[in-house]
Amino acid sequence: MLEKSLAQKVLAEALRTGADLAEIYVEDVESLQLGIDDSRLETAMRGEDRGAGVRVFFGNLVTYAFTDSLDENSLMEAARAAAAAGRGTQQQAKTIDLTERKSQLEYPIRKPFDTLSIEDKVQLLSRMDEAARAYSPQIVQVTANYQQLRRQMWLFNSDGVQVEDDRFYTEVRAGVVAKRNGTLQRVREGFGGRVGLELLDDNDALAKVKNMCERAVQMLDARPCPAGEMTVVMCNGWGGVLFHEACGHQMEADFITKGSSAYAGKIGERVANPIITAIDDGTIPGRRGSLKFDDDGTPAQRTVLIEEGILKEYMWDLVEARRVGRDGSTGNGRRESYRHMPMPRMTNTFIDQGSHTPEEIIESVKRGVYIRDMAGGQADIAKGDFVFNATVAYLIEDGKLTAPLRGATIFGNGPQVLQEIDMVGNDLALDPGMGMCGKIQMARVSVGQPTIRIPRVTVGGTDDASASN
């Protein structure tokens, strides 16, 4: 994509004003999106996006300039723009010895994107739409979307790093709306990963859609969720979004070095119940957050964040690692595109396996809420407070799932909840692969966990009567 000699020339230009590190990040993205809405194939879109960013480090000051053309003039201009902030002396021109590093990690694509025609992909979406509508006349709206994305990156820096990572992602999403009288319920779900079209062989899209319809129709009978403090059981897999939002972000190094995280300065301390081990692993085959190299050029790795309740490590990118003089990062530097600078981000993050069966956990609850599915969540960094909105939830009464509940929100404090989780299941699963995390920039991530029990947390709802009895 970029000749080594040109990369060397651009890096030399970027270093001219006294920078201590310069980097070129080149990206080439190709995507295809197809979408059915209202039983019509309405979205048929191809995109290509190519460009490069030059990043220059002057101590803790980082400057960036990007361009959407890869010719020498544009790259040199970007290098000059990024270098312009330097006040230092002109460095002796030196040859930067770029050595290509190979990753030990492989993410093989069994079925390339072109092994199915566009018509076949459209056909899949049509069958999903038909399956949902055939499920029940109460299913009034269906959307189904397919996306394939190839994101190739090349990175060169003046420390001699030269890496590339050719990332393929495939994903399928669906949404169904069930309606009875004036009541509407919506269920959305998807599956995907850093994989090719084998995704479509490994997942039964039609069975998934029927299952979504079943839940949406069942939720039509949902009653308002009781409000107040109670025991909450969170499902395995996607339930891990709670840890991601409420604790994971607080372990990202940018919030640590500034001291805005509750976990700053707590390495070696007990931050969770000893039954909790939590891991960020950017090397799991086929997962959305998996990388060969991160967007700083650091090899992806598996990082144990919490081991049996003890805080072990944070998630570092290059900028934050340099800030504190740490020897390299943990491979968590990620960026949305060549138009962005990397920041510390999670990859595939999960709470590790525990000992209880999920049935034991539910049976242990006299009165509480079981959360089966969530629309997503948000957490505030400084305080660690989080809020999650359950889209599918059930009341637990005397150890059994009873009425479906609507409008359930759980609200609590991440670090506190982590101390309080008192049961962890033996059914560890990662999510189906549609997680997108927003922290100013968007990043593909996976989350996961076994079934867990939180003994007391605030549940928000619209029914305050049932909480007081």
Binding site: L34, R46, D68, A82, V122, T409, T458
Partner: protein
């Protein structure tokens, strides 16, 4: 830069064929972003980028492709991809491009001719003042996260095979930060301050920094109250979250797809008589103002809810043809990488007469909500509305102390019906697009807290 308009027209000429309609959009953006931390510049990013998007409608079937490659080959590859993709889409007789309408040359005041030449040093100084204002507000403000200044000079060039060919430029400058306060017990809270304008000179760094500081300090040490149903008063930023969901529920496209809690209630009283909701793409100095929308239709002002009565919906060309109406100029585009889709421009609630303090003084018992957290907790389809909240408790019209760790729950339906006061202090919140809302008082809201 009229050569980019000619280029858009040339793409249309190349791609069109009998029975095939074509639209080309070219965007050219020059952007700056700066971050400071503790008085030092931490990040400085500058860029200039261009993109081309081609929409083809072939017998009612839509294909779309985009690129940043402006070589002859890249352009040809792009429009050919759009032509090919149209073949797999479903034919829909309502799909089509709008006829070319004359575009008024009225000055919408969205172009700051000074912005492109404001020196970077001046922007850095402004941002340092933003940060300083937060710290100066109170010594318990210990950090400012995400302390950012950004600006954009955007040019849009749009041409189609029905003879439309127009361009406009718009400038935006914004700044935001998250103030973090630490109390005596070591507990921390955070709150945002922000400001945005089409004009650099309109940014008030002291006000932005102070907002973050003041809000964070006010909620420091908040404790949950008991679960109850009571009155709440909503800060702008909180009201904006709810209004952005209402905007979705007022889109004709979502109605046609039966995705709105307001469905089939046109002409009915859907809110209290204090509620008047507007969408105005021609608002002077509006962050979302433009002479024409994402498919070349002149923008307009639409009264959606008038004194509580649902009067109109927002339309783009497609939804308008289905309902046999005129487009209200609400086709939105997120740059060249997306198809036009129906959405709000400057969407706001008409202000009332009381100040925020007067509204609070009128509340016997309730919660002034300063900040909320929600993701997907406000559903424009089901109308469910539930959020985590921080704020201040009100007793007999006086603020008595901070509240945290509670949820507020209502439905969008009840929210509209139970608005019992609208403030005079309309403000547009940039973090959520151009959503404008005054301070609001809402009754009968469930607060979830301790038992």
């Amino acid at each position: 830069m009229t050569d980019l308009l000619s280029l858009a027209q040339s793409v249309v000429q190349q791609a069109k064929a009998p029975g095939v309609e074509v639209e080309a959009i070219i965007t050219h953006d020059v952007e700056t972003q700066i971050k400071v931390s503790r008085g030092e510049v931490e990040q400085l990013s500058q860029s200039s980028s261009r993109g081309l998007g081609v929409r083809v409608i072939d017998g009612g079937r839509t294909g779309y492709a985009y690129t940043s490659d402006f070589s002859d080959e890249g352009i040809a590859r792009t429009w050919r991809a759009a032509r090919e993709l149209a073949k797999v889409a479903t034919a829909d007789k309502y799909r089509g491009l709008p006829d070319a309408s004359p575009i008024s040359d009225e000055d919408l005041e969205i172009w700051d001719k000074r912005l492109p030449s404001v020196p970077t040093t001046e922007k850095i100084e402004l941002l340092k003042r933003v940060e300083r204002a937060a710290f100066d507000y109170d010594p318990r403000i210990i950090l400012a996260e995400f302390c950012t200044y950004g600006d954009a000079v955007n040019h849009v060039y749009l041409a189609n095979s029905r003879g439309f060919a127009q361009q406009y430029g718009r400038t935006t400058a914004y700044s935001y930060l998250m103030g973090i306060a630490r109390g005596d017990d070591g507990g921390m809270v955070n709150a945002f301050g922000s400001g945005a304008s089409n004009f650099f000179a309109d940014l008030d760094p002291d006000a932005i920094g102070r907002e973050a500081g003041e809000k964070a300090i006010s909620i420091l040490g908040g404790k949950p109250v008991e679960t109850q149903t009571t009155t709440i008063v909503l800060d702008h930023a909180v009201g904006a979250e709810i209004l952005s969901a209402l905007a979705l529920a007022l889109s004709a496209d979502d109605w046609q797809r039966k995705r709105s809690f307001l469905l089939d209630r046109l002409g009915q009283q859907v809110g209290s008589d204090m509620v008047t909701l507007m969408d105005n793409g021609r608002l002077k100095r509006g962050l979302a103002s433009a002479p024409f929308d994402g498919e070349g239709v002149p923008t307009s002002a639409t009264r959606l809810i008038d004194e509580g009565v649902l009067q109109n919906l927002m339309y783009d060309t497609y939804s308008a043809r289905k309902d046999n109406k005129a487009s209200s100029g609400n086709a939105q585009r997120a740059g060249h990488r997306s198809l036009p889709s129906l959405g709000p421009t400057n969407f706001y609630m008409q202000p009332g007469h009381q100040t925020r303090d007067e509204i609070i003084a009128g509340v016997k018992r309730g919660l002034y909500v300063v900040s909320v957290m929600q993701t997907g907790g406000i559903d424009p389809i089901t109308g469910d509305c539930s959020m985590g909240a921080n704020g201040l408790w009100i007793e007999n019209g006086k603020i008595t102390g901070p509240v945290g760790g509670v949820t507020i729950g209502t439905t969008l339906n009840d929210f509209l019906q139970n608005i019992s006061e609208v403030g005079s202090d309309l403000r547009f919140i940039p973090l959520f697009g151009a959503i404008g809302v005054p301070t609001l008082r809402v009754d009968n809201v469930t607060i979830g807290g301790t038992k």
